[in-house]
Symmetry: D2
Subunit: 269 residues, 4 copies
């Protein structure tokens, strides 16, 4: 894999390379994967034990070990394992992830704070996601969507401060092609217990929503590298379903972090 990346850079005459995971979502990594050490990985490589890590994490390992910044734009494991976070520190490589937010979760992380700020108690939050592309097909398999659904619901709990009933589904609709439609229904309770409702639909083109984020992430991670940043760059949490480290969960707060970060970069490089 490292030779592939280096050949790619040489053939295209590139000075810098960022590796970004945009492959279909894998099933969730096993709990053993989270406990692996650097020695475990070295041994696995020597013994060609491919199953030790999910494919996305082997690619992340290859990229980070060779000194390339790495972005996990999917809900797969990628570099989201302690051993790879440590490797990134050690190899002095910046990384970011995971799982780009381009639709329902994007809207949820902007909307949920409103219910908190107005003291409107969310009783239930139901979300249906319909996708037409290969990503949707892969996610309609329960074990593939497990970690994505968890990230979606975790966001609500963090933003509201409690866990309302949530029901979130992801389904594949052949005829949608590269488009997706999400319908969310929020049932909430206000003053004196009065129950009210908000619904939204989001009709977006998956690639057109993802592509500019991918380009920005590539630029920002290269700039971060030039500025000496290593390990998880939590200032980039605005791009992802699951924020890194101590980054805030609300979109507004995440955007402020991004702006400060971008300003600090432009001053330095």
């Amino acid at each position: 894999l490292q030779t592939d990346i280096r050949n790619f850079a040489r053939n295209k005459q590139l000075d810098q390379v960022v590796v970004i995971n945009l492959a279909s979502t894998e099933p969730q990594a096993s709990s053993e994967a989270e406990r692996l050490t650097g020695d475990d990985l070295t041994q696995a490589l020597e013994r060609s034990e491919a199953n030790t890590l999910p494919t996305s994490s082997w690619v992340a390992y290859a990229a980070i070990d060779a000194g390339f910044p790495y972005v996990n734009f999917t809900a797969s494991a990628g570099a989201d394992l302690s051993v790879l976070a440590q490797l990134a520190q050690h190899r002095r490589v910046p990384i970011a992830g995971s799982d780009g937010k381009t639709g329902e979760t994007l809207v949820r992380t902007i909307l949920a704070p409103m219910f908190y700020q107005r003291n409107l108690r969310v009783l239930s939050w139901v979300g249906n996601n319909l996708l037409g592309n290969r990503d949707g097909k892969v996610l309609s398999e329960p074990r593939n969507r497990e970690s994505k659904l968890r990230a979606k619901e975790e966001a609500l709990t963090k933003l509201l401060g409690y866990s309302p009933q949530t029901l979130t589904s992801i389904d594949h609709v052949d005829s949608f092609d590269d488009w997706k439609t999400a319908w969310d229904h929020v049932h909430f309770q206000g003053f004196l217990g009065v129950q009210m409702a908000m619904q939204f639909t989001w009709q977006g083109c998956d690639s057109a929503l993802a592509a500019p984020l991918v380009i920005d992430l590539a630029r920002l991670l290269l700039a971060a590298q030039r500025n000496g940043r290593v390990g998880a760059v939590e200032e980039l949490s605005v791009f992802f379903k699951r924020p890194t480290g101590n980054a805030p969960h609300d979109l507004a707060g995440q955007f402020e972090r991004l702006k400060s970060f971008a300003n600090s970069l432009s001053r330095r490089s």
Copy 2:
């Protein structure tokens, strides 16, 4: 009016009084009203020229002149005239307003920043507001809703940084009683010009949404008065369609201002 307020305080044995405008929305104040001076008002009072100010502004004048904090929770003129802002400074009275945001504008001021932050260009933003109560009846008269509609659309321009096509209507539906339903359709353009759409409906009980804000405003304005604040308290902009002074237009930013303000109060009093 001042005698009425003082009698009310005496009869109810109240130490403090806040005057809050919750009456039906008036037609927009004339442009002359904005240019009035304190001397003009004194003369108008002496000559009993009631038409010099809209009713809501006479009430605001009475309250402020007598030293009572004043909140304008409607789209009427109230204290939103230079001459009354000056009077509030002079009489050392805190004031706040105008027009509580409890539905469509609340959602718009939380949602619009998302489009800005993701560089999704809003092409058109259409909003239909259906209300069943007397407020809705009054607002279905074009000249009564004029200033409300302007505040709604101004918010979008400030938050997006440009003016997309907007169409906002307010209508009265008898059968809705104290409920309101807003439907908004946002047409936006993303990467490579791809056009996408978001829609939301907000089904809320008007009074249950407004009442807790009114109570909080009363408490906060009294606390502000005890802390020596005078004139427009722009830290309370989170409650209103039209922010005061240099307050931000986005809900998240406004909420941060409110929190700092509340913390500063609790430290002092």
Copy 3:
């Protein structure tokens, strides 16, 4: 106009011609127009008094007088005047109209019978129509949309057997291009007075919805002519907002009429 139509037929080597009005909607015809006689029209022609009839009705007059079947696919007057209906009888020409139903009214005429059949009393029916093309631009002028709105609301009254509160608007949204979006909110009351709601959105491409109806109408009117039908063909009401003669108002009943008609034609010609 008649020379134009005949030249068109000659140049294109056509055996048959149907004239179909697809021009932008005109303001509603005056009440005098409805009382005109054939002699009035002859006089107006001699004196070149163009204002006697709306433009669309002059075209209808030219077509019918020259023996060409005529369809009014818009909300303009077209052949919807007694004097032109008589002329169609006299010249033995079949005509049909008016105003093709391709969106909100199509859905309303299929949905409204459900409320009637289930004894669910409609309290209010609100409809917002957003159109991006020239048709939408013309209809956003109040006097142009008047007759269209009347046809939309008349349909509900006929199908429900009473007149609920209705609010129907048509607006032009530049960015929609040839697309239209309708949002309808139906507030209804069931058993023991319980109030419930149904909403729908219809997102359609105006031309793609209209074109196949126009083609079918051309075919059907020519077949009707070959079968000796003259005057208004009420069996074609399924295509229009305003049914002709004694035709039913519900889509299901109208479709049955169309099927019988089509079967009768195929047996004869």
Copy 4:
């Protein structure tokens, strides 16, 4: 069970009794149940083999065998087994069912014919049903909702003449109490392959929608019995998700059948 029913009639001094199944939905009956004969049931009764039939079918057996008209208002088996249909013929008892349509399926059976009649090809039809009551809780178990989902999707195939992709879910939302919300998204293709969409939401109170149908069914089945009708009364299909015998699937056609039936009854009794 028969003694219970007779005691109920005696205690309440009733001349007539109709047995109506309104219990929670059972899992689908086994395929063996469909092949049972009258002798099998007699044997099972003698041997107290309760598992031979689902509970709802034993109740149907008891009612029909004792000469009481029977309605199955749920998606359970009830009298929907050949052996019970034969028994109804033999005991000269009218029966009706199954599964009352009060929400999504009601709307689907009125809407789907529109797509057929306009030659708009449905590419996919997605439906999400959220229910708050015990019925919703029982149906959120996959094996309980199996036959209900099948009936919902079968209706579309019959009405459209082909099987578009369908995704229908039923979920329980605690906070909805006796209310239900359905969201349906219909993706369809028109002239020249243009793809368009329709969405609807139905917000209804489950009991208020069901109760009047139950009362009407009781009256109509008693009237049917007085008029000598025996076995499945297919003229009552308008009330149910799954029509009986040769009854049409579209709501409009079903309502016409009901009207003729009601008229025929009033002439006779």
